[in-house]
């Protein structure tokens, strides 16, 4: 294509996008001269260039538009929504012609007399005061024309002199326009409908310019996108080569090479950064067309909508930008059409008439978060629920169990976007599954939050770039694979005998994870290749979330995490659904990148998609103030509770299987005898049906706590009031609005363990002469009572005290311990000072000090806890507490 022409096309396309946005702004603030000047200037430039390049059709259009804008600028005319619509239509027409130009390099046949006439009429409209009056009375037969230009008697539309008695089309339009506003709008709408469906993507668009503000002068150079891509590829190669070099030098220990290599390494990193930056574009570029879309759809729906945008300058990779454009447009349009209520309903609900759509973008830990929020009515929860049940997306039972939030997420499910759903859900959610799958295609996630009567917020999270991702390198029986970390939510170590054991149902693997069953896939199953019999039994489960599906992938081990450069698959391999690309690792080997979406499809053969019910729980897990409690009945209808984190499993046992031996109740459980204790204190086991049992397991030993009925799991801030409710109770707390007795699990554990525990410790005595002594300092009685039995059960001799002064008293008395476990935040004591003092104490300075804290790592550093203590364990993490104690004691033993 002619260079001049292609430059013109690229430039004009950009200018028009700006004009679009500016016009919408202008319509709302007609007094803003700067905006108008900017629009005028841009249109003027387009007109001038068209004339220069010999594009008469475009020139005529731009000229007509410019004339009207000139009238606005000279304050001869006041801009109305109708006239702005008209200009927007002419811009659309220009775009249409431009598209044609792009494809064929010539202007399309035909003319734009109709719209030019409208434009001319509009610019004339107010000037001729007489026209509206007269024409309104009898528009057709009147021959009262307006002023010159076009001259009376010559009709540019008909392209000939007017016959006597004939009225020029332009005049007619002017008359209609002036007489009755909506008519023009009607015409505009018709013109819109006649117009071809949206503008195809501009191929010549090769911009590097970060232009959020059109008036800002930044020197730029136009670079072909292809050369940038090439540059990026080469930098990726460089990164890989550097990684290889680094690995070689690490092995050879060649000092001479090290320094230049370090330099190479840092230069490479800078280069990579720099090139990445050239690919970055402000997200505002993808938003440019949104004001126009919102304006148009709001007009159509007869609503008033205000679109607010923030964070336009947030930059992301242009490849991502291109892919995110369409889903974003869809979501904004959706918010406008269905999210916001009509004005009168809004007013009735006490909201301002104009609806708000807030679009914002910001960075968050290597990701870009885009939020689309409206202040509309929120999602119709009951309708979605009903629809989903009707569609068979979920069962009635599932629907009842789902929270509103979970129901809302159903709009992302494919089943809800069928044609019939359009009517019954009034369109909301249509195509949302497409939006989701488009976003997931680029490794992003989308979530929503809807509050009834207050609005809906969609949150899209997408990676900054597609070229480089951080990945988990895993070993499996059929080789190494990379798993993008974005999809990974947790890693679970699964052992044959431990708490997390992979079980099989009819050949299907599942894992009990907390309170849900997780479908597990083995790569060798998906690949259809028999895994060689490996002796490696302990393996990891990589838990991934794709959309609503949560599943685990069984791998032998995790070997590394690495920033990998994604390389596209060879054509011959793209048909394999479970891979999304391949890459070269630092050691030079090639590995395949697993596609979480592809694997998910393999997992859910059929429609058995496990709803992600544990997400809410996981979210609140991070909230350390709340504790998940398991509510149940035992011996009466007063609710009782235990902390859920202590419960390993919930089981139902056939009462006939309960055996008695020496006055104790046992049940055969997983090939061992598990002692059973009833939570009511008396052995009131059920005689028929199923006996619900809470199983507590520690180090392979289990105790069952039988209850009458499991009621619920609640998450609440625990406010325990201590009571002397006798053995077995810590106190009571208000849970779900009811006073609930919180049971002392330790009491029941020791009851159950009793003789069995003695036998166990006797067994251990062969290796370890005496149980290790632990001093536990914690001001919180609830916590002390929770931890002490656990530690005792793990074979330690525990002394639990509530203050450091008691500790010093024990010190004075010459008592010795193997390890001291202390809380850090105590109201009257300071754990860190305590630890520092301990370090200087003559008797106890050699005892390892372990801190319990709910604080984050950096806060711990701030208060000096890291240096004062041997190790720090999170308060809620009982498993790692025991393993850390074990580890510390062992290393202490080795050091001594």
């Amino acid at each position: 294509m002619d260079d001049l022409l292609s430059d013109f096309l690229a430039e004009t396309q950009e200018s028009l996008e700006v004009v679009d946005a500016e016009l919408v702004k202008f319509e709302q603030q007609p007094e803003d001269d700067e905006t108008l000047n900017n629009i005028f200037r841009l249109v003027h430039t387009i007109k001038g260039t068209c004339g220069f390049l010999g594009l008469p059709r475009l020139e005529a259009l731009a000229h007509a538009g410019e004339t009207l804008l000139g009238k606005f600028r000279d304050k001869a005319l006041i801009a109305t929504p109708e006239t702005v619509s008209l200009i927007l239509d002419s811009i659309d027409k220009i775009k249409e012609i431009l598209d044609h130009l792009t494809e064929t390099q010539v202007e399309p046949e035909g003319d734009d007399k109709e719209i030019i006439a409208l434009l001319v009429a509009a610019s004339e409209g107010v000037q001729s005061e007489s026209a509206p009056k007269v024409v309104a009375e009898n528009p057709v037969e009147t021959n009262q024309s307006t002023e010159e230009d076009p001259p009376v008697g010559y009709d540019i539309d008909l392209d000939r002199e007017l016959r006597p008695g004939e009225v020029s089309l332009a005049d007619l339009e002017a008359a209609f326009m002036a007489a009755d506003g909506p008519d023009i709008e009607q015409l505009a709408v018709e013109a819109d409908q006649a117009k071809e469906e949206e503008v195809s993507k501009e191929k010549e668009k090769t911009e590097v310019k970060p232009t959020a503000e059109p008036l800002k002068l930044i020197q730029t150079v136009r670079v072909n996108v292809d050369s940038l891509e090439e540059l990026m590829t080469m930098v990726s190669e460089l990164v890989l080569t550097r990684n290889q070099l680094l690995q070689i030098v690490r092995k050879s220990n060649d000092e001479e090479l090290k320094i230049p290599l370090q330099r190479l390494s840092s230069v490479t990193a800078e280069l990579q950064d720099g090139v990445m930056k050239t690919r970055m574009q402000p997200i505002g570029n993808a938003w440019k067309k949104l004001p126009r879309i919102v304006r148009d759809s709001a007009k159509l729906a007869g609503k008033k909508v205000q679109l607010n945008m923030s964070g336009e300058s947030t930059e992301l990779d242009r490849q991502v930008l291109e892919l995110i454009g369409d889903p974003l447009t869809h979501m904004v349009r959706n918010s406008c059409d269905h999210g916001l209520e009509p004005g009168d309903i809004r007013v009735a609900a006490g909201k301002p008439e104009a609806g708000q759509i807030n679009l914002s973008a910001y960075h968050e830990g290597g990701h870009i978060v885009i939020e689309v929020a409206d202040d509309g009515a929120g999602l119709p929860t009951s309708k979605i629920r009903a629809k989903a049940i009707k569609n068979g997306t979920i069962s009635q039972a599932d629907a009842d169990a789902m929270s509103d939030n979970q129901v809302h997420r159903l709009i992302f499910a494919a089943g809800l976007s069928t044609a019939s759903a359009v009517t019954s859900l009034s369109g909301r959610g249509v195509g949302m599954d497409v939006v989701r799958s488009n976003i997931e295609k680029i490794g992003g996630t989308v979530d929503l939050n809807s509050i009834d009567g207050q609005g809906t917020t969609f949150k899209i999270k997408i990676p900054l770039t597609l070229a480089i991702v951080s990945a988990l390198i895993v070993d499996t029986a059929v080789g190494k694979f990379a798993i993008p970390q974005l999809a990974v939510v947790e890693l679970v170590r699964s052992t044959e005998t431990g708490e997390h054991r992979v079980e099989t149902i009819n050949g299907t693997r599942v894992l009990r994870l907390r309170d849900s069953l997780l479908p597990i896939v083995d790569i060798s199953d998906i690949t259809g290749e028999a895994a060689p019999e490996s002796s490696e039994k302990p393996s990891f489960v990589v838990v991934m979330v794709v959309g609503e599906l949560r599943f685990g992938v069984l791998v032998d081990s995790i070997s590394d995490t690495e920033e990998i450069v994604v390389k596209p698959l060879s054509n011959r391999l793209t048909s394999i659904p479970i891979f999304s690309g391949n890459t070269i690792l630092g050691d030079g080997s090639v590995i395949m990148i697993l596609d979480p979406n592809g694997v998910a499809k393999q997992v859910s053969t059929g429609e058995e998609v496990e709803q992600d019910t544990s997400r809410d729980e996981a979210n609140t897990d991070q909230n350390s103030d709340k504790t998940a409690m398991l509510l149940f009945f035992a011996g009466g209808r007063e609710p009782k509770a235990v902390p859920l984190s202590l419960v390993t499993r919930l089981e139902e046992i056939d009462p006939n299987k309960i055996e008695t031996s020496g006055g104790r109740h046992m049940v055969q459980y997983r090939n061992t005898l598990m002692p059973l204790v009833h939570a009511s204190g008396a052995p009131t086991f059920k005689e028929t049906g199923q006996q619900p049992v809470l199983v507590f397991t520690e180090n392979g030993r289990s105790v069952g706590l039988a209850v009458d009925e499991i009621v619920d799991i609640v998450e609440e801030v625990l406010n325990i009031e201590m009571s002397d409710g006798g053995p077995g109770a810590i106190g009571s707390a208000v849970l779900k609005g009811k006073a609930t007795e919180v049971l002392d699990v330790g009491h029941f554990l020791t009851q159950g363990f009793h003789d069995w525990f003695e036998r166990k410790s006797a067994m251990e005595n062969n290796e370890e002469p005496a149980a290790k002594r632990i001093l536990l300092v914690d001001d919180n009685a609830f916590f002390r009572n929770m931890v002490r039995p656990l530690l005792s059960a793990a074979g330690y001799d525990v002394t639990a005290i509530e203050s450091t002064s008691e500790a010093w008293a024990l010190n004075e008395a010459g008592v010795n311990f193997d390890i001291i476990v202390s809380d850090i935040e105590m109201p009257d004591d300071n754990g860190v000072d305590f630890a520092k003092k301990l370090a200087e104490d003559l008797n106890w300075n050699n005892i390892p000090r372990l801190a319990l804290s709910a604080l984050e790592q950096h806060d711990l550093e701030k208060i000096g806890a890291i240096s004062a203590f041997t190790d720090v364990v999170r308060k809620s993490d009982r498993e790692s507490l025991i393993s850390t104690i074990h580890y510390v004691l062992q290393s202490q033993g080795e050091a001594a």
Partner: protein, 161 residues
């Protein structure tokens, strides 16, 4: 495959072929198609890939798809102990790098264009599908492989018809 050269056939153009062996059979590939010859090392197997794809490997920072020519010819793969002598011929089709795994590489032969003969119609259909011609050499027959067809055609596809 090179009509262009056919046009100038009266001057008796010469074509250059790299010869390669699969078992005892000698094959030829036009030199112009070949980018390089290398030892295939550290091939990563790709699960679920078509059978003739042996895997992917890293050749100087580029990911190359290794194609087992034996499988394309419906022959069993080479015994493991002979595998170390295997060679790969690097080619590029549609901007993608491929490595053709062969038993060993022979000489470069210069043969007159006009001596090339059509493939006998009774040859195995899989073989026919990926060959473009045949030369009678002293004591053996040289089958010219067609790279496009070798990469584009599944061995099972019936091309003989």
């Amino acid at each position: 495959m090179s009509d262009q050269k056919h046009d100038r056939a009266n001057s008796g153009p010469i074509r250059e072929f790299v010869t390669l062996y699969i078992g005892d059979q000698i094959f030829g590939l036009p030199v112009s198609d070949i980018r390089e010859v290398f030892h295939p090392r550290a091939i990563t197997r790709v699960p679920l890939a078509p059978p003739e794809i042996r895997g992917v490997l890293n050749l100087r920072g580029r990911i190359v798809t290794a194609i087992e020519v034996r499988t394309c010819l419906s022959l069993p793969p080479l015994e493991e102990d002979n595998a170390s002598s295997m060679m790969a011929i690097g080619i590029e089709v549609d901007d993608e790098a491929y490595g053709l795994i062969v038993d060993r590489i022979g000489d470069v032969l210069q043969l007159p264009e006009r001596d090339c003969e059509a493939i006998p119609c009774n040859m195995d259909s899989n073989w026919q599908a990926i060959s473009s011609g045949i030369y009678r050499l002293d004591g053996q027959l040289l089958i010219i492989l067609d790279i496009q067809r070798l990469l584009g055609v599944e061995p099972s596809t019936e091309m003989a018809a």
